[in-house]
């Protein structure tokens, strides 16, 4: 105990808001992005791109507006979330701009900038309009209905590059499955928060496994069937894997029953094996994963995965430098699914590690908010949203690096794709919202001067 003056008032204990830190980090994130943008121009044309001021100004303005929204409507939010999102989005724009130089007829960066602007606008809208995340709990069933509708709609649209996950209206196209992710996380969080005791303690016990009753088990089976159904009908292994993984993680966190993980893994393995064996599109992906160089040996030239591995290898430790790699050899998906290969080739293992750590930090901050929150719904929602990011990064990064079979999925913020970047901005907005609640001083705490997480559930 440190001696204190007896008559002094109790020290005012306030959690620091850290909005200044966030602003500094944002300036850094924008500067790094602008530096990368200039770097590409210098490497390719020996001159800074003429629109670098516009690019930097635009990104800076978006960051500033987002920051102001956070400052005034979520002042206690985690200060790392927004800068990381801005940096990843800025880096993504640099990489897409860099790949645009190789494909003069297909300019994706301007479109991506428009989508990013829309994403930030929605971010601001969510932060400003959603005062408390618990409101979402009320719309759980509306969420899942919307999510299902969004996932089913693309079935009626023609397949693009083998996967039926797109809606095309006029010149615009977007992937409704991206938005469905958030809605599903909301539903899972609400459902599990409401039913977690029933899931954990009721039902029959078979061997070491405590089975829940059919009433509460139903949605699990439904979700599993849904994910496999989506996969088969839309040929989208990635999304189904993501939904399934998300559900298993959230179920585990909600109930704490390790058996669920075993069941989940078993079901996933069976589903993946069946589909991998019989669905030709998925089967070819698995074959390609098992032997990425088979097509070379067969004289058909390198597959996309082989080209991706070549790109990573070419990067080595330090990378070739922005603008100086040849990842465009990967072909049509270089700017979307395979964008990480460009990062790997031009930034090297060091740059790639930095990118992974940014994602890890984003995920960790989501988990941290979940730890600090008091309401189970908020906890599960933040864990769910963070897990979406983690699983998505793992599925696509593991896919393009040959760790797991490749599934079409967007690297959050980095990859070209409007639906994806907009969705990820909404995810970050929700994380900002929950972290704001998590870090906001509790009225009791201010009065008593006690800072301790109130742990309503220590089981």
């Amino acid at each position: 105990m440190t001696p204190s003056t007896a008559d002094a008032p109790p020290p005012e204990l306030r959690l620091p808001k850290r909005r200044g830190v966030e602003l500094c980090l944002l300036v850094g994130a924008v500067l790094i992005s602008v530096y990368g943008y200039a770097n590409v121009g210098l490497a390719r044309n020996g001159a800074v791109p003429p629109d670098v001021a516009g690019y930097g100004g635009g990104l800076g303005l978006l960051a500033l507006l987002a920051h102001l929204a956070v400052r005034f409507r979520a002042p206690y939010a985690d200060p790392l979330l927004l800068p990381i999102a801005v940096l990843l989005n800025g880096l993504g724009l640099v990489l897409i701009y860099r790949l645009d130089l190789e494909t003069p007829k297909d300019q994706a960066a301007p479109t991506q900038l428009i989508w990013s602007t829309l994403g930030v606008a929605l971010f601001i809208a969510v932060v400003v309009l959603l005062r408390d995340h618990r409101v979402l709990q009320r719309y759980a069933y509306l969420s899942v209905a919307t999510a299902l509708a969004l996932m089913i709609v693309p079935i009626f649209f023609p397949a693009v590059n083998g996967a039926k996950i797109w809606i095309r209206i006029g010149g615009l196209s977007f992937q409704p499955g991206e938005f469905a992710k958030i809605l599903l996380a909301v539903f899972f969080a609400a459902y599990l928060a409401a039913n977690r005791n029933a899931l954990a303690y009721t039902g029959r016990r078979i061997w070491k496994l405590q089975l829940p009753t059919g009433r509460v088990l139903g949605p699990i089976v439904a979700i599993w069937l849904l994910s496999v159904g989506v996969l088969v009908l839309e040929r989208d292994l990635g999304t189904s894997l993501l939904f399934f993984g998300l559900f298993v993680i959230m179920l585990y966190v909600a109930t704490g029953r390790t058996g669920w993980i075993a069941v989940g893994l078993l079901l996933a393995a069976v589903g993946a094996f069946v589909v991998g064996s019989f669905e030709p599109h998925v089967h070819s992906r698995v074959q390609d994963w098992l032997d990425p160089f088979a097509s070379i040996d067969a004289g058909r030239g390198p597959s996309q995965l082989a080209q991706s591995l070549f790109a990573f290898a070419a990067g080595g430790m330090l990378g070739t430098g922005l603008g100086l790699g040849h990842s465009v050899l990967i072909g049509f998906a270089a700017k979307s699914d395979f964008i990480l290969a460009t990062a790997g080739e031009e930034l090297g293992l060091s740059g790639l590690t930095a990118v992974f750590l940014l994602y890890a930090l984003l995920v960790a901050r989501g988990y941290r908010a979940g730890l600090a929150l008091r309401d189970p719904f908020g906890r599960l929602l933040s864990i769910g949203l963070a897990s979406i990011l983690a699983l998505q990064v793992f599925v696509i990064a593991g896919g393009v690096m040959g760790l797991i079979p490749l599934t079409g999925m967007a690297m959050p913020f980095l990859a070209q794709g409007g639906s994806s970047v907009v969705t990820n901005w909404i995810i970050v907005a929700l994380l900002i919202r929950v972290s704001d609640v998590a870090r906001r001083p509790h009225p009791d705490q201010v009065e008593t001067g006690v800072i301790a997480p109130v742990l309503e559930d220590e089981r």
Partner: protein, 485 residues
Amino acid sequence: MIRYIRRAAAFCLLLLVALLLNAARIQLFEADELDDNPANRRNTIDRYDEPRGNILVGGKSVTGSKDTGEQLAYERTYLHGPLYAPVTGYASQTYGTTLIENAEDGILSGTDSLLAPFPLWNDITRGRQPGGDVVTTVKDSMQRAAYDGLSGRRGAVAAVEPSTGRILALVSTPSYDPERLSGTGSPVTDAWARLNAAKSRPMLNRAIRQTYPPGSTFKIVTAAAALDARVVTDPDAGTDTPSPYVLPGTTTTLPNEASGCAKASLAEAIRVSCNTVMAHLGVEVGLDKMVEAVGRFGFNDGGLRIPSGVAKSNFDTDMSDDQLALSSIGQFDTTATPLQMAMVAAAVANGGDLRYPHLVDRTTAHDGDTVQQQGSRSYHQAMSPSTAMQLQRMMVDVVEDGTGSNAAIDGVKVGGKTGTAQHGIDNSGTPYAWFISWAQNPDSGRPAVAVAVVVEDASADRADISGGGSAAPIARAVMEAALDG
């Protein structure tokens, strides 16, 4: 719930670790293997990312590079395509490289470690230096004289500086424009198919890659062997060879095209080109000593590089005496490249000391600093100096008073030897006209040049006369260009 959140977080951390380990696996441990996968186009793209170094003749570049703006950016250009194709070869994005473009590819493309500022520099930076230049020994005026002299007929010319081994001209006709093979796409594949299908075989480098029966020019080699073996001690003394001569062990008679060959001396046999005398001398020298002697000139050496590989000139090592007799006059299985026969003339002119022939004088870095200098070095002492002196006199007689008069240059000491090689079944093919010679300014202590010329479509087929008629004027033009400074 907190415990399970922590475990879920640990699971996410596990995923991250898996990604990082996998990235390290690909980018560090498997990188080299993936880089070198033949299906990986990065090496090719990097290779053409910068202009290729140039090949220089007489201080001027005979090559260039142009930026096509395509994925393989820089394509090779050739300023005097067909003229220098037998020297440069081609550097094709589709078909690889040949000749100097191939032999000095490391310098020209910038990958040679000698170009790096420090050892292992290229390995560490994973980069390459700007392409360096290759300075050839070729003399432009001689190359043109030889090329114009052949005037589209099938044939070849090789000229060397006897005292150094520097190759001064290397011509093969008909030739081709290597620029047509530089890039990619159907124009290149069409040109490739057309060049390969052409009956005249324009891409064949006849000067170093094609061997011909050397015919009577080979008699210089036989004479050197006979003198060195002391089978002949006085070149002007008569020999005991009858004309015609019955090949040993057979009833076949070997005739002469020339008259006065019965019991002719060695000098006379060289001057008028007697088959009988030389065939007989070869047999008298014997197989072992003949094989040894021809080896000193470079025959049967498959490893000669200038720096491109030179086809092996052949003299059989296992023959009966009648075969040896025919081989000794450059028939039977004896074959030689034009460069080989230029080396024979050079050895005689240089007092028996045969210098190693080379086409590259030096290589330089992009900024002109010399990377490597090719000095003159001895290849073999092909014959004793006294034998060389005697042969020089005999070769001068050929030009002044024999079959090689078409090669004579006023006021210059010129030695030569004609040859016509029959070939094909029953000699049905078009005969090859040969001429080998050397020239020396009277006020100079060293011979200026040694030349070998072969013309495939000699108009006349009478032995030696066609060599003197078709090939000797070309040799004279080349020698005149050499003597002009």
